[in-house]
Symmetry: C2
Subunit: 141 residues, 2 copies
DNA sequence: TGACAAAAGTTAGACATCTAACTATAATAT
DNA sequence: ATATTATAGTTAGATGTCTAACTTTTGTCA
């Protein structure tokens, strides 16, 4: 199915995901997927978060988020604890090893953004974001 | 930062994939993924194709393509045969049931394209394609 | 011609992801 | 106060995807 813009976005998305995996592996995190990165990203930004918040931020289901956090916990990058205010809620926190990755993640993230924006420049990038935003908002309704 | 082009393309890609799955299910093809659609699309366009050609067109590995064709064969939408000229090569052909889906696929494909282009118009669509093309070409090198 | 490399395809094992069903806890309503 | 409903999270099973190893067949070259 050659859907023009749809097909182009799909290809770009897949290439960036693949690039991120390679980059994370090079940073000493083999087997870490971009979605794991999304989980960590929220923890870097706002500190401790619930499974629910992480799922919403990463655009993944609760079930998937459980598995993602399982893996990060097994790697000793995050830790789970039961909330004091609500026994249903789990609070996820970065470990020391997790905190230590913040700079690596920012470096990789910046590198990806500049790779994507390089061929179209600043104005092209802004125009691209405008168009994509309109498309996304439209699809979400 | 949170709304950069990479993230937007990822979201749009995931939403369109999900939409396609629903649409294919509604067309009497539950469990058929967009990647199966890509396989069928090449068969609609150029007729019989090898596994190698299908993999390249769908941007999937040989292993994945084997599984995709397995499923389509189990659904009696395509058929495999060994090439007369090269015993290593398998030739994949549409069955009668597979051929019958062509119109449904074109309808769904057109619907998706118009959904995506609707909020940005013809000129916006062309500009979007230009920008995406530059980004993709750049990433592929 | 005969050994070895290349190519087409499949199989095995792993993983991220989803939906559906489940447990446990909290909130609501009668 | 108790029963019902809602919410947070996990588990189970299925699926599309990948890499790596394998089989079979074809091509190459000394």
């Amino acid at each position: 199915m050659k859907h023009d813009a749809v097909m182009l976005m799909g290809r770009i998305h897949e290439l960036t995901q693949k690039w991120l995996r390679r980059e994370l592996a090079s940073a000493g995190l083999p087997g870490v997927a971009p979605s794991h990165g999304d989980v960590l990203a929220l923890l870097f930004m706002k500190g401790e978060s619930t499974m629910h918040e992480l799922a919403a931020f990463a655009h993944r289901t609760k079930a998937t988020t459980t598995v993602l956090v399982d893996k990060l916990e097994a790697m000793d990058l995050v830790r789970r604890a039961t909330s004091v205010y609500d026994a249903r809620t789990k609070v996820v926190v970065l470990t020391e090893r997790g905190e230590a990755l913040k700079e690596d993640f920012e470096r990789i993230s910046n590198k990806l953004v500049s790779m994507v924006y390089a061929p179209i420049g600043k104005t092209g990038g802004e125009r691209l974001e405008q168009l994509l935003n309109k498309v996304l908002v439209s699809l979400e309704n």
